[in-house]
Protein backbone atom coordinates (compact mmCIF):
# COMPACT_ATOMS: atom_id res chain seq x y z
CA UNK A 1 0.00 0.00 0.00
CA UNK A 2 1.15 3.50 -0.87
CA UNK A 3 0.04 6.97 0.14
CA UNK A 4 -1.76 8.66 -2.75
CA UNK A 5 0.09 11.89 -2.22
CA UNK A 6 3.40 10.06 -2.79
CA UNK A 7 2.09 8.72 -6.10
CA UNK A 8 1.17 12.21 -7.27
CA UNK A 9 4.54 13.63 -6.19
CA UNK A 10 6.39 10.91 -8.07
CA UNK A 11 4.25 11.40 -11.15
CA UNK A 12 4.75 15.18 -11.09
CA UNK A 13 8.48 14.67 -11.71
CA UNK A 14 7.68 13.08 -15.08
CA UNK A 15 4.46 14.85 -16.00
CA UNK A 16 5.88 17.10 -18.70
CA UNK A 17 3.06 18.77 -20.64
CA UNK A 18 0.55 16.00 -20.08
CA UNK A 19 -3.09 16.91 -19.56
CA UNK A 20 -4.10 15.44 -16.21
CA UNK A 21 -7.45 14.65 -14.65
CA UNK A 22 -7.95 13.00 -11.27
CA UNK A 23 -11.08 11.60 -9.68
CA UNK A 24 -12.05 9.92 -6.43
CA UNK A 25 -11.16 10.78 -2.85
CA UNK A 26 -7.42 10.44 -3.47
CA UNK A 27 -7.62 12.57 -6.58
CA UNK A 28 -8.21 15.66 -4.48
CA UNK A 29 -4.50 15.79 -3.67
CA UNK A 30 -3.51 16.52 -7.26
CA UNK A 31 -4.53 20.17 -7.37
CA UNK A 32 -2.13 20.89 -4.49
CA UNK A 33 0.78 19.18 -6.22
CA UNK A 34 0.35 20.10 -9.88
CA UNK A 35 2.64 22.82 -11.17
CA UNK A 36 0.71 23.26 -14.43
CA UNK A 37 -2.93 23.86 -13.47
CA UNK A 38 -3.89 25.11 -16.92
CA UNK A 39 -3.35 21.55 -18.11
CA UNK A 40 -5.36 20.02 -15.29
CA UNK A 41 -9.01 19.36 -15.91
CA UNK A 42 -11.97 18.26 -13.82
CA UNK A 43 -14.12 15.75 -15.69
CA UNK A 44 -16.36 14.42 -12.94
CA UNK A 45 -20.06 15.11 -12.90
CA UNK A 46 -21.78 11.77 -13.36
CA UNK A 47 -21.19 8.56 -11.46
CA UNK A 48 -18.51 6.39 -13.00
CA UNK A 49 -18.01 8.38 -16.18
CA UNK A 50 -14.74 10.26 -15.65
CA UNK A 51 -12.81 7.56 -17.51
CA UNK A 52 -15.04 7.88 -20.57
CA UNK A 53 -14.65 11.65 -20.60
CA UNK A 54 -10.86 11.38 -20.32
CA UNK A 55 -10.86 8.78 -23.08
CA UNK A 56 -12.91 11.11 -25.30
CA UNK A 57 -10.44 13.90 -24.61
CA UNK A 58 -7.53 11.66 -25.57
CA UNK A 59 -9.23 10.64 -28.82
CA UNK A 60 -9.96 14.28 -29.61
CA UNK A 61 -6.42 15.44 -28.83
CA UNK A 62 -4.18 12.75 -30.34
CA UNK A 63 -1.07 14.95 -30.13
CA UNK A 64 -1.44 15.49 -26.37
CA UNK A 65 -0.65 13.01 -23.63
CA UNK A 66 -3.76 12.52 -21.46
CA UNK A 67 -3.32 11.02 -17.98
CA UNK A 68 -6.30 9.89 -15.94
CA UNK A 69 -6.01 9.13 -12.22
CA UNK A 70 -9.05 6.94 -11.79
CA UNK A 71 -10.59 5.33 -8.71
CA UNK A 72 -11.74 1.73 -8.54
CA UNK A 73 -15.19 2.63 -7.24
CA UNK A 74 -15.69 4.87 -10.24
CA UNK A 75 -14.25 2.36 -12.70
CA UNK A 76 -16.48 -0.43 -11.41
CA UNK A 77 -19.56 1.67 -12.16
CA UNK A 78 -18.71 1.68 -15.85
CA UNK A 79 -16.27 -1.17 -16.25
CA UNK A 80 -17.08 -1.61 -19.93
CA UNK A 81 -15.00 1.48 -20.61
CA UNK A 82 -11.86 -0.63 -20.53
CA UNK A 83 -13.13 -2.52 -23.58
CA UNK A 84 -14.07 0.78 -25.23
CA UNK A 85 -10.58 2.20 -24.63
CA UNK A 86 -8.84 -0.98 -25.74
CA UNK A 87 -10.94 -1.11 -28.88
CA UNK A 88 -10.12 2.44 -29.94
CA UNK A 89 -6.46 2.21 -28.87
CA UNK A 90 -5.62 5.85 -28.16
CA UNK A 91 -1.83 5.81 -28.03
CA UNK A 92 -1.77 8.97 -25.89
CA UNK A 93 -3.98 7.67 -23.08
CA UNK A 94 -2.56 6.72 -19.67
CA UNK A 95 -5.07 5.24 -17.24
CA UNK A 96 -3.69 5.15 -13.69
CA UNK A 97 -6.01 3.48 -11.18
CA UNK A 98 -5.60 4.40 -7.52
CA UNK A 99 -7.18 1.41 -5.78
CA UNK A 100 -7.99 1.93 -2.11
CA UNK A 101 -10.42 -1.01 -2.09
CA UNK A 102 -13.21 1.16 -0.72
CA UNK A 103 -15.67 3.98 -1.19
CA UNK A 104 -13.56 6.37 0.85
CA UNK A 105 -15.81 9.35 0.26
CA UNK A 106 -18.87 7.64 1.70
CA UNK A 107 -17.30 6.21 4.82
CA UNK A 108 -14.93 3.48 3.68
CA UNK A 109 -17.33 0.72 2.76
CA UNK A 110 -15.55 -1.94 0.67
CA UNK A 111 -16.14 -2.07 -3.08
CA UNK A 112 -17.40 -5.44 -4.33
CA UNK A 113 -14.76 -8.14 -3.90
CA UNK A 114 -12.37 -5.38 -2.86
CA UNK A 115 -9.23 -7.33 -2.03
CA UNK A 116 -9.42 -9.98 -4.75
CA UNK A 117 -9.98 -8.00 -7.94
CA UNK A 118 -6.97 -7.59 -10.22
CA UNK A 119 -7.75 -4.54 -12.35
CA UNK A 120 -4.51 -4.67 -14.32
CA UNK A 121 -5.34 -8.24 -15.32
CA UNK A 122 -8.76 -7.08 -16.48
CA UNK A 123 -7.24 -4.26 -18.53
CA UNK A 124 -4.70 -6.67 -20.00
CA UNK A 125 -7.48 -9.04 -20.96
CA UNK A 126 -9.52 -6.20 -22.45
CA UNK A 127 -6.63 -5.34 -24.71
CA UNK A 128 -4.70 -2.36 -23.30
CA UNK A 129 -1.34 -2.08 -25.01
CA UNK A 130 0.50 -2.21 -21.70
CA UNK A 131 -0.43 -2.82 -18.06
CA UNK A 132 1.42 -2.50 -14.76
CA UNK A 133 0.72 -3.13 -11.07
CA UNK A 134 2.32 -1.51 -8.04
CA UNK A 135 2.01 -2.07 -4.30
CA UNK A 136 5.35 -0.52 -3.40
CA UNK A 137 6.26 3.16 -3.74
CA UNK A 138 9.88 2.55 -4.66
CA UNK A 139 8.85 0.37 -7.60
CA UNK A 140 6.43 3.04 -8.78
CA UNK A 141 9.02 5.80 -8.48
CA UNK A 142 11.55 3.72 -10.39
CA UNK A 143 9.20 2.86 -13.25
CA UNK A 144 6.73 5.70 -13.76
CA UNK A 145 9.04 7.71 -16.02
CA UNK A 146 9.53 4.92 -18.53
CA UNK A 147 5.86 3.93 -18.34
CA UNK A 148 4.89 7.44 -19.45
CA UNK A 149 7.08 6.97 -22.52
CA UNK A 150 5.20 3.84 -23.60
CA UNK A 151 2.67 3.70 -26.41
CA UNK A 152 -0.84 3.65 -25.03
CA UNK A 153 -3.35 2.86 -24.04
CA UNK A 154 -1.47 2.12 -20.82
CA UNK A 155 -3.11 0.91 -17.61
CA UNK A 156 -1.39 1.22 -14.23
CA UNK A 157 -2.97 -0.18 -11.08
CA UNK A 158 -1.66 1.11 -7.74
CA UNK A 159 -2.76 -0.05 -4.30
CA UNK A 160 -3.14 2.98 -2.02
CA UNK A 161 -4.21 3.59 1.55
CA UNK A 162 -7.81 4.68 1.93
CA UNK A 163 -8.31 8.17 3.26
CA UNK A 164 -11.78 7.69 4.61
CA UNK A 165 -14.07 10.65 4.96
CA UNK A 166 -16.89 9.91 7.33
CA UNK A 167 -18.30 13.24 8.48
CA UNK A 168 -21.81 14.17 7.40
CA UNK A 169 -21.75 15.92 4.05
CA UNK A 170 -22.87 19.24 5.48
CA UNK A 171 -20.00 19.24 8.00
CA UNK A 172 -17.18 18.51 5.57
CA UNK A 173 -14.69 21.27 4.88
CA UNK A 174 -14.10 21.76 1.18
CA UNK A 175 -10.88 23.26 -0.08
CA UNK A 176 -11.39 25.91 -2.74
CA UNK A 177 -11.05 24.47 -6.19
CA UNK A 178 -11.84 25.48 -9.73
CA UNK A 179 -15.13 24.18 -11.06
CA UNK A 180 -15.31 21.79 -13.99
CA UNK A 181 -16.41 24.62 -16.26
CA UNK A 182 -13.46 26.75 -15.17
CA UNK A 183 -10.93 24.00 -15.80
CA UNK A 184 -12.45 23.31 -19.22
CA UNK A 185 -12.26 27.01 -20.07
CA UNK A 186 -8.65 27.24 -18.94
CA UNK A 187 -7.53 24.11 -20.77
CA UNK A 188 -9.19 25.17 -24.01
CA UNK A 189 -7.52 28.56 -23.74
CA UNK A 190 -4.18 26.85 -23.10
CA UNK A 191 -4.64 24.71 -26.20
CA UNK A 192 -6.09 27.50 -28.35
CA UNK A 193 -9.46 25.79 -28.82
CA UNK A 194 -12.42 28.08 -29.41
CA UNK A 195 -16.15 27.43 -29.78
Amino acid sequence: MIEAVDIFNAFQEHRGDAIVTATGRAGRHWKNISTNPNRDIVLGGAMGHTASAAFGLAVGLPDEKVVLFDAEGSLLMSLGVIATVAGKKPENFFHILLDNESYATTGGQPVPNAEQINYAEMARGAGYASTHEFTDLEDFVTNIGSILDETGPVFVSVKIFAEVENAPIAMRVREPARSRAETIRDLRAELGISD
Binding site: S52, G56, G60, S78, V81
Partner: protein, 172 residues
Protein backbone atom coordinates in the same frame (compact mmCIF):
# COMPACT_ATOMS: atom_id res chain seq x y z
CA UNK B 1 -43.36 3.43 -55.86
CA UNK B 2 -41.80 6.91 -55.79
CA UNK B 3 -44.11 7.90 -52.97
CA UNK B 4 -43.17 4.76 -51.11
CA UNK B 5 -39.49 5.61 -51.52
CA UNK B 6 -40.08 9.11 -50.14
CA UNK B 7 -41.59 7.58 -47.05
CA UNK B 8 -38.52 5.53 -46.31
CA UNK B 9 -35.88 7.23 -44.20
CA UNK B 10 -32.65 6.49 -46.01
CA UNK B 11 -29.56 6.02 -43.84
CA UNK B 12 -27.70 8.00 -46.50
CA UNK B 13 -29.79 11.02 -45.49
CA UNK B 14 -28.44 10.87 -41.95
CA UNK B 15 -24.88 10.63 -43.24
CA UNK B 16 -25.46 13.67 -45.46
CA UNK B 17 -26.84 15.62 -42.52
CA UNK B 18 -23.88 14.64 -40.34
CA UNK B 19 -21.40 15.80 -42.98
CA UNK B 20 -23.32 19.01 -43.61
CA UNK B 21 -23.12 19.85 -39.91
CA UNK B 22 -19.44 19.12 -39.50
CA UNK B 23 -19.75 15.98 -37.39
CA UNK B 24 -16.37 14.43 -36.63
CA UNK B 25 -17.17 11.48 -34.35
CA UNK B 26 -20.10 9.08 -33.98
CA UNK B 27 -20.28 7.48 -30.56
CA UNK B 28 -22.53 4.49 -30.78
CA UNK B 29 -23.77 1.12 -29.77
CA UNK B 30 -25.13 -0.52 -32.89
CA UNK B 31 -28.66 -1.89 -32.79
CA UNK B 32 -30.67 -3.92 -35.22
CA UNK B 33 -32.47 -0.90 -36.65
CA UNK B 34 -29.32 1.02 -37.52
CA UNK B 35 -27.09 -1.72 -38.86
CA UNK B 36 -27.01 -0.42 -42.43
CA UNK B 37 -26.36 3.10 -41.16
CA UNK B 38 -23.44 1.71 -39.16
CA UNK B 39 -21.94 0.15 -42.26
CA UNK B 40 -22.25 3.44 -44.14
CA UNK B 41 -20.64 5.39 -41.31
CA UNK B 42 -17.70 3.03 -41.08
CA UNK B 43 -17.06 3.61 -44.78
CA UNK B 44 -17.37 7.42 -44.57
CA UNK B 45 -13.82 8.77 -44.16
CA UNK B 46 -14.87 12.04 -42.50
CA UNK B 47 -16.51 10.18 -39.60
CA UNK B 48 -14.58 8.52 -36.79
CA UNK B 49 -16.69 5.79 -35.19
CA UNK B 50 -16.31 5.09 -31.48
CA UNK B 51 -18.04 1.95 -30.28
CA UNK B 52 -18.81 2.18 -26.57
CA UNK B 53 -19.82 -0.60 -24.22
CA UNK B 54 -22.82 1.06 -22.60
CA UNK B 55 -24.86 4.07 -23.65
CA UNK B 56 -23.98 6.14 -20.57
CA UNK B 57 -20.40 6.19 -21.81
CA UNK B 58 -21.50 7.97 -24.95
CA UNK B 59 -22.35 11.32 -23.33
CA UNK B 60 -19.15 11.44 -21.28
CA UNK B 61 -17.02 10.46 -24.27
CA UNK B 62 -18.79 13.21 -26.20
CA UNK B 63 -17.91 15.70 -23.48
CA UNK B 64 -14.22 14.88 -23.83
CA UNK B 65 -14.44 15.28 -27.60
CA UNK B 66 -16.34 18.54 -27.27
CA UNK B 67 -13.66 19.94 -24.97
CA UNK B 68 -11.13 18.97 -27.65
CA UNK B 69 -13.04 21.05 -30.19
CA UNK B 70 -14.62 18.13 -32.05
CA UNK B 71 -18.25 17.66 -33.09
CA UNK B 72 -19.54 14.35 -31.71
CA UNK B 73 -22.94 12.76 -32.16
CA UNK B 74 -24.33 10.05 -29.89
CA UNK B 75 -26.19 7.37 -31.83
CA UNK B 76 -28.09 5.09 -29.49
CA UNK B 77 -31.46 3.43 -28.97
CA UNK B 78 -34.15 4.75 -26.64
CA UNK B 79 -33.58 1.83 -24.27
CA UNK B 80 -29.99 2.96 -23.84
CA UNK B 81 -31.06 6.55 -23.41
CA UNK B 82 -33.33 5.51 -20.55
CA UNK B 83 -30.35 3.77 -18.93
CA UNK B 84 -28.17 6.86 -19.31
CA UNK B 85 -30.07 9.34 -17.18
CA UNK B 86 -27.26 10.35 -14.84
CA UNK B 87 -24.77 10.67 -17.67
CA UNK B 88 -27.18 12.83 -19.67
CA UNK B 89 -27.66 15.00 -16.59
CA UNK B 90 -24.06 15.38 -15.51
CA UNK B 91 -22.12 15.07 -18.77
CA UNK B 92 -24.48 16.68 -21.26
CA UNK B 93 -27.07 18.98 -19.65
CA UNK B 94 -24.66 20.36 -17.04
CA UNK B 95 -21.72 20.62 -19.43
CA UNK B 96 -22.76 23.55 -21.63
CA UNK B 97 -21.71 22.07 -24.97
CA UNK B 98 -23.73 21.38 -28.10
CA UNK B 99 -24.66 17.71 -28.50
CA UNK B 100 -27.05 15.99 -30.88
CA UNK B 101 -28.18 12.57 -29.76
CA UNK B 102 -29.76 10.46 -32.49
CA UNK B 103 -32.03 8.01 -30.71
CA UNK B 104 -33.72 5.02 -32.30
CA UNK B 105 -37.36 5.09 -31.28
CA UNK B 106 -37.90 1.40 -30.54
CA UNK B 107 -41.58 0.58 -30.29
CA UNK B 108 -42.83 3.71 -32.03
CA UNK B 109 -46.03 2.76 -33.84
CA UNK B 110 -47.38 6.16 -34.97
CA UNK B 111 -50.93 5.36 -33.91
CA UNK B 112 -50.87 5.87 -30.18
CA UNK B 113 -50.87 2.24 -29.10
CA UNK B 114 -47.38 1.42 -27.86
CA UNK B 115 -47.17 -2.03 -26.34
CA UNK B 116 -43.38 -1.71 -26.11
CA UNK B 117 -42.71 0.29 -22.94
CA UNK B 118 -39.43 1.51 -24.41
CA UNK B 119 -41.61 3.75 -26.56
CA UNK B 120 -44.06 4.49 -23.77
CA UNK B 121 -41.43 6.21 -21.66
CA UNK B 122 -39.25 7.80 -24.35
CA UNK B 123 -40.96 11.15 -24.75
CA UNK B 124 -41.91 11.51 -21.05
CA UNK B 125 -38.21 10.91 -20.26
CA UNK B 126 -37.18 13.73 -22.60
CA UNK B 127 -39.84 16.03 -21.14
CA UNK B 128 -38.60 15.24 -17.62
CA UNK B 129 -35.06 16.21 -18.60
CA UNK B 130 -36.35 19.25 -20.48
CA UNK B 131 -34.58 18.10 -23.65
CA UNK B 132 -36.08 19.21 -26.94
CA UNK B 133 -36.46 16.66 -29.71
CA UNK B 134 -37.29 16.30 -33.37
CA UNK B 135 -39.10 13.26 -34.75
CA UNK B 136 -37.75 11.95 -38.04
CA UNK B 137 -39.85 9.26 -39.70
CA UNK B 138 -39.45 9.74 -43.43
CA UNK B 139 -36.75 10.85 -45.79
CA UNK B 140 -38.35 14.24 -46.29
CA UNK B 141 -37.92 14.84 -42.52
CA UNK B 142 -34.15 14.96 -42.99
CA UNK B 143 -33.90 18.72 -42.63
CA UNK B 144 -35.13 18.34 -39.05
CA UNK B 145 -31.70 16.91 -38.30
CA UNK B 146 -30.07 20.15 -39.35
CA UNK B 147 -32.67 21.97 -37.25
CA UNK B 148 -31.50 19.92 -34.27
CA UNK B 149 -27.86 20.87 -34.95
CA UNK B 150 -28.79 24.53 -35.27
CA UNK B 151 -30.66 24.40 -31.98
CA UNK B 152 -27.89 22.67 -30.06
CA UNK B 153 -25.27 25.11 -31.38
CA UNK B 154 -27.49 28.00 -30.33
CA UNK B 155 -28.48 26.71 -26.89
CA UNK B 156 -25.42 24.61 -26.00
CA UNK B 157 -27.80 22.00 -24.66
CA UNK B 158 -28.34 18.45 -25.88
CA UNK B 159 -31.01 18.03 -28.54
CA UNK B 160 -32.46 14.66 -29.56
CA UNK B 161 -33.41 13.38 -32.99
CA UNK B 162 -35.88 10.55 -32.54
CA UNK B 163 -35.68 8.13 -35.45
CA UNK B 164 -39.15 6.66 -35.72
CA UNK B 165 -38.54 4.36 -38.64
CA UNK B 166 -38.16 1.02 -37.01
CA UNK B 167 -40.22 -0.81 -39.59
CA UNK B 168 -38.92 0.70 -42.79
CA UNK B 169 -35.58 1.84 -44.07
CA UNK B 170 -32.74 0.92 -41.75
CA UNK B 171 -32.64 -2.77 -42.39
CA UNK B 172 -31.68 -4.02 -45.80
Amino acid sequence: MAQQQAQILRPETLIEEFIKNGVTHIITIPDSETNYLYELMVNEPSLDIISVSREGEAMSTALGLNIAGKVPVCLIQNTGMLESGDSIRGMALDAGFPLVMVVGYRGWTRHGVTPDTAATYTEPFLHAFNINYYLVEEDRDGDRITAAFEETRRTKRPVVVLVGDEYHGFNR
